[in-house]
């Protein structure tokens, strides 16, 4: 048996089959994966290779058809809906491909949303929001609403929201897709610095070469299976 205490994620023999108009489609075919705390890795592969499905399953957003996932040594399938919600709230930050900000909340409120659920004291919340807004270059935007921001600015808010509660793991699905290369590079540098300073684990699903270059580990998925798993030097 492998000692799971060193792994923030351990996935064993993951399989996922979808029904597409009654036809079973295999999105994952026996994926085994171990991700150590503090890793900065990219999962790459062509469309339909199973990247988003893998991210969804290892974060507990979706259930595998077969196999098990351990997150911080906890078996996801053993958690109730409420436990899983609390676990995600306290341990995982999400950066979605299409921002997914809450339209009725301001930038500041969107960023502090998870901290509000965690009941972080007001002063601490404001301090952290102020700092993260400076880090992502959105000082002075706190009171704006998502519809008043460009796509790039919205993605910065989404990144800030994912990082501000200081989760152990950040999952990012195509985080630079709607950003220009300069902004994308800046944000990746911020994420990498957080990874180094705070030992936060980052997992990207991407097509972006920039992200692949910055990653320290590269997992290539093809047809629902890991084709290669390379740790850069």
């Amino acid at each position: 048996m492998i000692d799971k205490s060193y792994d923030i994620i351990k996935a064993e023999a993951l399989e996922k089959t979808y029904e597409d108009n009654g036809v079973p489609v295999k999105a994952l075919r026996g994926v085994d994966l171990e991700i150590k705390k503090g890793e900065f890795l990219s999962i790459v592969g062509p469309s339909g290779s199973g990247k988003t499905t893998l991210l969804n399953i290892i974060s507990g957003l979706d259930d595998p058809s077969k196999g098990e996932v351990y997150l911080n040594n906890k078996l996801i399938s053993s958690m109730s809906g409420r436990e899983l919600s609390d676990f995600r709230r306290d341990n995982i930050g999400f950066i979605f491909q299409s921002h997914n900000l809450i339209p009725v909340l301001s930038v500041e409120e969107n960023i502090e949303y998870i901290m509000l659920l965690q009941r972080v004291p007001k002063e601490e919340r404001h301090k952290r929001v102020e700092n993260i807004l400076r880090d992502v270059g959105l000082e002075g935007f706190a009171d704006r609403f998502p519809t008043q921001l460009s796509g790039g600015q919205q993605q910065r808010v989404a990144i800030a929201r994912a990082m501000v509660s200081r989760p152990a793991l950040i999952l990012a699905d195509e985080p630079t897709a709607s950003l220009d290369s300069k902004t994308g590079s800046e944000l990746l540098d911020i994420m990498r610095s957080l990874n180094e300073k705070r030992d936060m684990t980052f997992i990207f699903s991407t097509h972006d070469k920039l992200v692949m270059d910055k990653a320290r580990r590269l997992i290539v998925l093809k047809d629902g299976q890991i084709e290669s798993d390379e740790v850069k030097k």
């Binding site: 969804n56 919600s85 999400f94 997914n100 809450i102 339209p103 998870i114 509000l116």
Partner: protein, 405 residues
């Protein structure tokens, strides 16, 4: 707190849809409030007219009189009783009555009559007796040997004002009671059946005719308000405290009328049920539409760690915010409408008779029930129909929801 904030702000996202939902709730509330106010007002008015015009709100009889009315079961010290209770709070008026039956004749025409001995002054203060006299006048004094007949009886006897009428009956001492009286007035109470037999005598004449000196069969009491009746009954019982008399509110001595009114009242709830259905369908439709439209958003909230129960609460809070606003506006509108209808009433065209009382207008009523019943109904209906969409939203699978564009 953040859930409350999102729920509140969500109200203003689709203003037209919110307005539509609010209008459904407002319409339901206002219709229900007016319906209840109208029904309560009509019943209160009918009961008040029925009791004030004829029977009184409370009656005092000799024990067992109502079960078996006889000439001999009388109240002796009625003046003393009247004086003792007249100071009681919420008592507006009281009047004594003596009842018997007999045969009345004018020339060759005869009819069975119900003889009612009344004190004209006390009767007038209690049941507005003089207002019922459609022709002629009331009694001039207690020794005048005058009679006032019901309009139907006048027709049967083919009599007119000033004619003499002979009445024959049996007195309390076993003798034949007979006398001759001059017709001085015609009464129309609105109750045709009663008007075909009413034979009103001055109470002194009636006591003399039936050899019932200082005795009566009934003391009718009028309360200031219908709602004071139960309390007044208790006060009278403690004031009189005699086991020889029974003191009953109108619900007991006019039980059939009360039961009929209650049964009629139940019909009003059908209207409320229809209103609930309209509100339920309207609210369910818009809430379900909203939830389906925001399913991706709920998926994101779930992914961020929002508990299913928090999303469930968010939807219920949002719909109840709209309900609260609608109820507030409905409260103002329905109170104004009910108030105007309670002052001006609505003319019902041709008059109708209910419980022996004629009505030409009906009135609404402003009361707490017409406000809290619709308010509770709207809140409960809204919450109940929101449960299904709220469960749907709370159970949203984040991964599936975020695939929806």
């Amino acid at each position: 707190m953040v859930i409350l904030k999102i729920a509140f702000r969500n109200i203003f996202r689709q203003k037209r849809r919110t307005l539509l939902t609010a209008l459904t709730m407002f319409g339901g509330f206002t219709l229900a409030a007016i319906s209840i106010g109208w029904s309560e007002g009509t019943y209160s008015y009918t009961i008040d007219m029925f009791t004030r015009n004829q029977m009184g709100h409370i009656q005092i009889h000799g024990k067992g009189y109502l079960d078996k009315p006889t000439l001999y079961n009388t109240i002796y010290n009625y003046r003393q009783i009247g004086e003792n209770i007249s100071h009681l709070e919420n008592l507006e008026a009281w009047c004594p009555r003596l009842y018997s039956s007999g045969l009345a004749s004018v020339s060759e025409k005869s009819a069975g009559v119900r003889i009612i001995g009344i004190d004209p002054v006390l009767e007038n203060s209690a049941t507005r007796f003089e207002k019922k006299i459609i022709e002629g006048k009331t009694f001039s004094n207690k020794t005048s040997h005058e009679v006032i007949l019901g309009s139907g009886l006048m027709e049967i006897l083919e009599a007119g004002i000033g004619d003499s009428v002979v009445v024959v009956s049996q007195a309390a001492d076993g003798s034949i009671a007979n006398d001759i009286y001059e017709i001085t007035g015609i009464v129309e109470s609105g109750d045709d059946f009663s008007d075909r037999s009413s034979f009103y005598l001055h109470i002194a004449n009636a006591q003399e005719l039936f050899v019932l000196d200082q005795r009566v069969h009934e003391i009718a009491i009028i309360a200031e308000e219908l709602r004071d009746v139960e309390g007044l009954v208790r006060s009278i019982r403690s004031e009189i405290g005699s086991p020889d008399v029974s003191i009953q509110p109108w619900k007991e001595f006019a039980k059939q009328f009360y039961v009929a009114m209650q049964a009629d009242k139940q019909g009003g709830w059908i209207m409320i049920f229809i209103i609930i259905l309209i509100v339920a369908v309207g609210v369910l439709n818009t809430v379900l539409m909203t939830v389906l439209e925001r399913i991706r958003e709920y998926g994101v909230l779930r992914a961020l760690g929002t508990r299913p129960a928090q999303i469930f609460r968010m939807i219920l809070i949002e719909t109840n915010f709209i309900a609260a606003g609608s109820i507030l506006v409905g409260l103002i509108a329905s109170t104004i409408i009910n108030y105007l209808l309670s002052i001006n009433g609505i003319s019902i065209g041709e008059s109708i008779t209910y419980g022996g009382v004629q009505f030409t207008k009906m009135y609404s009523e402003v009361n707490a029930m017409s406000l809290y019943v619709p308010a509770i109904t709207v809140v409960i209906t809204t919450s109940l129909v929101s449960i299904f969409p709220a469960i749907k939203a709370a159970r949203t699978s984040p991964s599936k929801a975020m695939r929806i564009h």
